[in-house]
């Protein structure tokens, strides 16, 4: 890509796909933006009219908005915490020379291939069900009251389910990173008198920082829009206890047929996602440089 000619050629070749991508993104975004200023309800079609920021006012002053905003942050933060910590642990375990390591690695990756709805259903009906669930049986077996997960700790239950889905992803990325760590550095640390703990803190963790950053950024993008797991398990309830922004927009626009209100919510969600993205890039983006 050194000469002017090759640079221009590269730009020309990129042009169609960039235009397509932009159109793909810009058109729906603009339409959403447009709808968000309309009084547009599917139950009363034909009398859309411009109502300024009224949709935004309704959305932002709705008590459900704040509840779901914090639920979104809790959900993202909780899942990130569990998957990063668990992922580091798993990656270190999987890096050990154990018998049948390759099979174990594939098994560990399995949850990632299961559809969100399916895994949420499995968790709901087979594991967390307060009567028939495995956890309930176990609780009765050790003699304690079974937990009604989706009634008592709905958000935490969803965090657990989503973490289970994303743990393999984090573990796999971190495992590749651990495997790329120069063994001679660890040996040098051995000779320098570093114990397992020092080696982890001073050699392994700094080496992993890049991979951890990548995992945080990628997971955040997907976790901000968690939907299927909530729909299948708690439907956002009880009350708004497990409603996140995505789910709130769904209830607003689809359940109440309010396209205008839902669009305003969508734009708010886009803005929040961007704020989170900028915040993350500022905070940890430098790890991805050089």
């Amino acid at each position: 890509m050194a000469t002017m000619q090759s640079r221009n050629l590269a730009r020309m070749m990129l042009f169609p796909s960039v235009v397509l991508l932009l159109a793909w993104m810009i058109v729906p975004l603009c339409m959403t933006l447009y709808f968000s200023f309309l009084d547009y309800n599917l139950l009363t079609p034909g009398n859309e009219e411009f109502i300024g920021f009224l949709n935004y006012e309704f959305f932002l002053t709705d008590p459900a908005f704040f509840a779901s905003f914090f639920n979104t942050l809790l959900l993202v933060g909780g899942v990130l915490l569990i998957t990063i910590c668990g992922g580091i642990g798993l990656a270190i375990l999987l890096d050990q020379a154990i018998w049948g390591r390759n099979y174990v690695r594939i098994m560990v990756l399995a949850p990632f291939f299961v559809m969100p709805t399916v895994s949420a259903l499995v968790w709901k009906n087979m594991l967390m069900n307060p009567v028939n669930g495995l956890f309930a049986h176990f609780a009765i077996w050790i003699g304690v009251e079974p937990v009604d997960f989706f009634a008592q700790i709905p958000l935490l239950s969803i965090i657990i389910i989503v973490s289970w889905q994303w743990l393999p992803f984090a573990a796999l990325i971190l495992l590749t990173s651990i495997q790329s760590l120069d063994r001679e550095q660890l040996e040098a640390a051995d000779l320098d008198g570093a114990g397992p703990f020092s080696k982890f803190i001073y050699i392994v963790m700094p080496h992993l920082s890049r991979a951890i950053t990548a995992v945080i950024l990628i997971e955040t993008i997907f976790l901000l829009s968690i939907f299927a797991e909530i729909l299948v398990t708690t439907s956002g309830g009880p009350g708004y206890a497990s409603t996140n922004l995505t789910y709130l927009i769904y209830t607003q626009s689809l359940l109440q047929f309010d396209v205008g209100g839902g669009s305003a919510g969508g734009i708010v969600a886009v803005i929040i996602a961007n704020i989170v993205a900028i915040f993350l890039m500022r905070l940890i983006g430098k790890n991805l440089e050089d």
Binding site: D182, E187, L191, G193, A194, S198, H207
Partner: protein, 340 residues
């Protein structure tokens, strides 16, 4: 203190016997070089001494105490790796301080040690840089710095110069030799380059396929190699080997002449041949001479050698410079040699 004794040390990976029983006495303060072709087990033995590989059988004594199963950090040895193995996210200063911090040395003392190491190795200007911002030679120095602050009883070097370019290698060779004289600490240095071995070593151990063929000073190895392998490995260009038919009463099956001892003569000489490729190095000239029935011989001549490609020449060598080897490659006492 830094004497190391290997007693019948062996190493097996799976069912591959990489180190055959080895006995070696490394004296305090000596610069010993392990030299041998790639894959002969030099690094493995060095890593066993460092404690990075288990010893399959035999004993390693350090300063008279059995250290066969002592963990690496407790052996009091420092190692400089081929890849340098610097910690990439720490500054040069922190790299050097790392072993001291692990040993809970007080901060003031750490600072003093870093300063003195930086002075010895000329690291002063880039103490606050990361290893990624340094050149190969500078990284090498940092790796050595990290080793010397620990004041180990012996330094272990595993091919430390192989990633450097030729001229830097010559400089670092001198610097490491200089460092050895300054610190007066035992150094074990692994290389596959016999020039490094010859120029740096007090003593050389020549390795071949997991055994030590010979241990001695550079001159001993050059002048009195015990077998054909050592004779061929030490010296550059390589010694010429000429197969001969053993006759009754003389078990010689091969004679060896170093290129620098081979001479062009006007008389009949021992061999006749045709000059092939000529390499002019300025100070000297390497001639590749094709001798019928013997093969190519290398001859080292003066820089202004007048011979040309295709010339016919007669070759000879002083009788006392011709080495004799038996069928197994063992060196035989000198006997007169009168050509094939």
């Amino acid at each position: 203190m830094g004497s190391i004794t290997l007693k019948q040390v062996t190493k097996t990976f799976g069912d591959v016997n990489v180190i055959k029983p080895i006995d070696l006495q490394i004296h305090d303060g000596e610069f010993i070089v392990f030299v041998g072709p790639s894959g002969c087990g030099k690094s493995t033995l060095l890593r066993m001494i460092a404690g990075l590989e288990d010893t399959t059988s035999g004993n390693i004594d350090i300063d008279g105490k059995d250290a066969t199963n002592t963990p690496p950090a407790k052996r009091g040895l420092a190692m400089v790796f081929q890849s340098y193995a610097l910690y990439p996210h720490m500054s040069v200063r922190n790299n050097i301080a790392f072993p001291l911090k692990r040993a809970k040395v007080p901060p003031a003392e750490i600072e003093a040690k870093i300063a003195s190491a930086a002075k010895i190795l000329n690291l002063g200007d880039y103490l606050d840089r990361k290893p990624g911002q340094l050149s190969g030679g500078q990284r090498q120095r940092v790796a050595i710095g990290r080793a010397i602050v620990r004041q180990p009883s012996a330094f272990l070097f595993d091919e430390p110069l192989s990633n450097l370019d030729a001229s830097l290698r010559v400089n670092m060779r001198l610097e490491i030799s200089e460092l050895h004289k300054t610190l007066d600490t035992t150094m074990i240095y692994v290389t596959h380059d016999q020039v490094e071995a010859m120029t740096m070593a007090d003593r050389i151990a020549v390795f071949n396929a997991g055994v030590i063929e010979q241990v001695g000073t550079p001159l001993e190895l050059y002048q009195t190699p015990v077998n054909r392998f050592v004779a061929g490995f030490i010296g550059s260009p390589k010694m010429n080997f000429i197969e001969v038919e053993p006759v009754d009463g003389n078990p010689t099956s091969c004679v060896g002449v170093r290129p620098e001892h081979l001479k062009v003569t006007q008389d009949k000489g021992l061999w006749t041949g045709k000059v092939g490729v000529i390499e002019h190095l300025g100070s000297e000239t390497f001639l590749h001479i094709h001798v019928d029935g013997v093969g190519p011989l290398t001859l080292k001549a003066d820089g202004d050698c007048p011979l040309k490609y295709g010339d016919n020449v007669n070759l000879t060598a002083p009788q006392n410079k011709i080495m004799h080897f038996d069928a197994a490659g063992k060196t035989l006492p000198p006997t007169p040699f009168s050509g094939n």
